[in-house]
């Protein structure tokens, strides 16, 4: 019974599917957004219960281990927050709600499978499963053309990226004669010995980079965030990154420092953070700004992956978790501030501290965490990355990271600056200051702060996961 969390999630998907079949009129069932939060919360407990599970299933393609359970727990917790966040979505029609939540649940299910997949085809299928449901969710925003455009962009980019991944997979299979990661880890991955395999792996990883929005696979990211509704963007910005991160952490077991492919990833990471941060400097739309910021954060994550040590992988896993927590917090605030479902501009945040002090404080915590200031999770994550990567051949990347943190201050700070130092103008959105909204922001902010001050317990699990991959 190692796969109870997955089965439970599948159950949710099926239930939502059944509900989506009816027209919802005059039925006895409460609407999806009513009951789903409770069941999603229960899912978190299911994952906690299955936390220590281990096993290799389905002919060795599906591995339940510390890493997968760590990520599954994070995914289920993220799913719970995302469902709560989306429950009051103003731009979503009533009759589309069951479908919307079904796709969210399906995507989360795909990501859970992704965190356990240890074979390339399995990875590919799980990846597609999570991507396809997102393709369907993104355009669901009233009748907005922008959302449709974002959906199309996401599909096109996704299709190309996954096609490339599949193409790369064929190269790997042809040259290394196996698709199991455990066996692939035994093979050589130098350019001289296996040029075909190196090209193949690079292309395959491209598929993950697309999910993670790493430069140069990031072009969809700001557009999709901007086009999709706030709540959908909050989902698309967080959970899929966890799925991509877990696969990359597994694949990173193949990457020894000094290999060409490792260097390539390091270079992409460096470019990604620099490019993302520089572009974010000029943004006025809050979600677009966060889109470019996630391009930069994808680059930061690479720092842990290229170090080639168990600590590095644990640091990357921890950072992925931190990233998701910080972004869920920021998107929670954005969704609550834009209670009419509009796209927030920086100027819309003006004077937030007067209109909604609790939300403004939470936004400040989120922004300072994204900068990487102590005492937040963002700082600890970044610190672990730097400490793990120093002296493993990529010191220039570490320096790039710290310089980039300095660049990034400006735009994150502008969130705080607008919220705290400007006075509200005309047509400012009316934030939702209900207890639900403020408590949610408070709890998420507390998570970001507490895990920033006392990360030892959580990091223990991350390290357990890292040691399994690179003993």
């Amino acid at each position: 019974m190692n796969i109870v969390p997955e089965l439970y999630q599948l159950l949710l998907v099926v239930a939502l599917f059944c509900q989506s079949l009816g027209d919802g009129k005059g039925s006895e069932t409460p609407p999806a957004e009513r009951w789903l939060p409770f069941f999603a919360a229960f899912g978190v407990f299911v994952n906690i219960a299955a936390f220590k599970a281990e096993g290799l299933l389905f002919g060795g393609v599906y591995k339940v281990d510390a890493l997968s359970q760590f990520f599954k727990l994070a995914i289920s917790a993220g799913f719970y927050v995302a469902v709560l966040n989306a429950a009051r979505q103003p731009s979503l029609e009533e009759r589309k709600r069951p479908d919307y939540f079904m796709f969210l649940a399906l995507c989360a299910w795909g990501l859970m499978l992704l965190s356990s997949a240890v074979e390339l085809i399995t990875i590919y299928i799980a990846l597609e499963l999570s991507s396809y449901s997102l393709y369907a969710v993104i355009p669901l925003r009233g009748r907005e053309k922008g959302a449709a455009e974002a959906g199309i962009k996401y599909i096109l980019f996704g299709a190309v990226a996954t096609a490339l991944a599949l193409y790369g997979f064929s190269y790997i299979l042809a040259s290394q004669n196996t698709s199991y990661i455990a066996q692939l880890a035994q093979r050589t991955w130098t350019w001289e010995a296996q040029p075909m395999a190196v090209v193949g792996l690079t292309l395959f990883m491209g598929g993950m980079f697309f999910k993670l929005a790493l430069f140069p696979f990031h072009f969809w990211c700001p557009d999709v965030y901007q086009g999709a509704s706030n709540e959908t963007a909050g989902f698309a910005a967080t959970l899929p990154k966890l799925g991509a991160a877990v696969v990359l952490v597994r694949l990173a077991a193949l990457l020894k420092p000094g290999l060409e492919i490792t260097t390539l990833i390091a270079v992409l990471g460096g470019l990604s953070m620099t490019f993302g941060n520089l572009c974010a400097l000029a943004q006025k739309d809050v979600k677009r700004l966060l889109g470019f910021s996630s391009v930069a954060h994808a680059g930061y994550m690479m720092v842990g992956l290229v170090s080639g040590t168990a600590l590095g992988l644990s640091a990357a896993a921890f950072y992925a978790l931190a990233y998701v927590a910080m972004n869920l917090l920021c998107f929670w605030v954005i969704s609550r501030v834009a209670s009419d479902g509009r796209n927030l501009q920086l100027d819309d945040l003006n004077g937030l501290y007067k209109r909604a002090p609790g939300l403004a404080f939470a936004l400040a915590v989120g922004a300072f965490a994204l900068v990487g200031l102590p005492p937040t999770m963002g700082f600890m994550g970044k610190f672990f990355l730097i400490a793990a990567a120093w002296d493993h051949g990529y010191n220039w990347l570490v320096i790039t990271l710290v310089v980039n943190s300095a660049i990034a201050i400006y735009y994150y700070l502008s969130l705080v600056r607008h919220a705290y130092t400007h006075e509200a103008g005309e047509n400012a959105p009316v934030p939702d200051t209900s207890a639900f909204s403020v408590c949610g922001a408070g709890v998420l902010a507390a998570v970001v702060l507490v895990l920033g001050m006392a990360p030892a317990r959580v990091f223990d699990y991350a390290i357990l996961a890292g040691r399994q991959l690179l003993p």
Partner: protein, 527 residues
């Protein structure tokens, strides 16, 4: 020693708890009284600190694992170098509350929240003995300071606060890289343990540069000082007071705590540069202060000059120099803090910081002008005030080092007198504008102005107890420094001394050689 509770931790945690309690309060007046009470309680919690022993060892040690996977520790302790800074931090808090009693009228709760948060972070910075713990406090302190300037500041507060934040954070990101490099090379984040190790010169070279950049921006040293006038002018009085009294000291504290003990050879190598920059800061700060029309800007630039004395004293590497630096840190905290409070006091009456709007106060605000005169005298080091002790020590150290350095300081000190006299004369006897209708100091203002005045005279007339506090630690610091520098630069120590002197045996062997000589030999030996 056991006091029944962990002293340093409680000094860090109590303000945070008190700050959280602020959210339960509705009325601004109650918030002020509450914070005043909290700041006095904080002082009472700090009473055990008075049992500080005059020895060079770490005292009030607290140690616990924090993130064992990475070897991070929660390690706090004090020595003579940090002790006075902690006392200064604790003393500044109630003064800040008092001096913003009427000055701050909007968002009072949040203002006091920032003050308390700030105090907590500052105590943490001065007592942390784990590099990462230090960094956490060091960065955490940026947030309340940013908000103090950005929310309660003057017209250009957004510009000033952003500049402050960008400068300091940009500097300290490289400090983080250096911290990690220390861990990877030295195997620990613990500062006392790292002090025992010696690193290759190449490593020290880069580590020193990364740390020195962060600290030089914080001090601030010329040419990294441009954020300071903007921040000071825009910040509210209490913000300026904390900035001047405590924040700037963190930079010089960093030099003493990290650069000298951890990278002695590189400190020696870069000393001529640091000395040159310090002198440039003194002369530049003084000269620019002379031309200011805005009182607050004038005092801000004078800070650049005064902090130049501190960094100069540190990089002289002799006992008098370092003692002088520590005294200057304390004095600058007291005197400049007091001057900023006075500017706030007069600003509440004239609503202008321009000298021309605040003239002729001698007749109408005699008590105010009396205090101003005292602090102005202390600021340029008039005998009998605390400023004299610090400046004289630095002068002594400088002349021990070389006549050139000492000679260059003289115009700096004269400039100090010149700009302080210029502004004081105008304020006291200039043609009064609207000053006729202003009232003189009230009881609250008397209270917060007289406390620093007591210390100005006390340190000025009877500095012995302060020497008792700092001397053992300074002797140990320089003893270690010279010992490890001599290992690194064996040939340099054998070189003939340039100036004959012997002040204190512990520091005597090699402090007389000109820095240039040492650096010339330092590099080949270690590469």
């Amino acid at each position: 020693m056991d006091f029944g509770y962990p002293v340093l931790t409680s000094l860090i945690v109590f303000p945070l708890v008190a700050a959280a309690g602020l959210f339960l309060i509705k009325s601004p007046q109650v918030a002020r009284v509450y914070t005043m009470g909290a700041s006095i309680l904080e002082l009472i919690l700090g009473l055990p600190l008075l049992t500080f022993k005059f020895i060079p060892d770490w005292q009030f040690v607290e140690r616990a694992a924090w993130v064992p996977q990475w070897g991070l520790q929660y390690h706090l302790a004090l020595d003579g170098i940090s002790y006075l800074m902690i006392l200064l931090t604790l003393a500044v808090l109630p003064l800040c509350v008092l001096c913003s009693w009427t000055y701050i009228s909007k968002r009072v709760k949040e203002f006091h929240f920032c003050l308390l948060f700030m105090t907590s972070a500052c105590v943490g910075v001065f007592s942390a003995l784990d590099l990462v713990l230090f960094y956490v406090f060091w960065e955490a302190m940026l947030i309340p300071m940013y908000l103090l300037i950005a929310v309660w500041g003057g017209d250009q507060r957004r510009y000033a606060s952003l500049k402050f934040f960008l400068y300091t954070l940009a500097g300290s990101t490289l400090l983080l890289a250096a911290i990690v490099a220390f861990r990877v090379t030295g195997g620990t984040f613990s500062i006392p343990e790292l002090m025992q190790q010696s690193f290759s010169f190449r490593f020290q070279f880069w580590a020193f540069l990364a740390m020195a950049l962060a600290f030089a921006i914080k001090v601030p040293m010329f040419p990294f000082h441009t954020w300071l006038p903007a921040a000071h002018v825009q910040a509210p009085s209490a913000g300026s007071v904390i900035l001047a009294a405590v924040l700037l000291k963190m930079g010089t504290y960093g030099f003493l705590r990290f650069c000298l003990p951890l990278t002695p050879a590189a400190s020696e190598y870069f000393a001529p540069m640091m000395v040159a920059i310090s002198i440039a800061s003194i002369l530049y700060g003084g000269a620019v202060a002379l031309g200011q029309e805005d009182i607050k800007k004038l005092v801000a630039y004078s800070s650049v000059g005064h902090m130049g004395f501190v960094t100069l004293g540190i990089f002289l590497f002799n006992v008098r120099g370092v003692e002088g630096a520590l005294f200057q840190m304390l004095n600058h905290g007291i005197v400049t803090g007091a001057l900023f409070m006075m500017i706030g006091t007069v600003y509440e009456r004239s609503h202008s910081r321009a000298i021309s709007d605040n003239m002729g106060l001698g007749k109408y605000l005699p008590a105010f002008m009396g205090f101003w005169g005292l602090y102005a005298l202390a600021s340029f080091g008039f005998p009998g005030t605390n400023g004299f002790v610090g400046e004289m020590l630095v002068f002594t150290g400088a002349f021990q080092q070389s006549y050139v350095v000492g000679g260059l300081l003289v115009p700096g000190a004269l400039l100090g007198a010149a700009y302080m006299f210029r502004v004081s004369l105008k304020m006291a006897w200039g043609r009064p504008g609207t000053a006729k209708g202003w009232r003189d100091l009230n009881t609250r203002e008397w209270t917060y102005l007289i406390i620093p005045a007591v210390f100005v005279l006390y340190i000025g007339l009877a500095p012995k107890v302060f020497f008792d506090v700092i001397d053992p630690s300074v002797a140990k610091l320089l003893g270690d420094f010279n010992g490890r520098k001599t290992v690194q630069t064996a040939q340099a120590a054998a070189a003939p001394a340039a100036v004959a002197q012997a002040v204190v045996a512990a520091a005597a062997p090699s402090e007389a050689e000109a820095p240039a000589d040492a650096s010339a030999t330092a590099q080949p030996v270690n590469n």
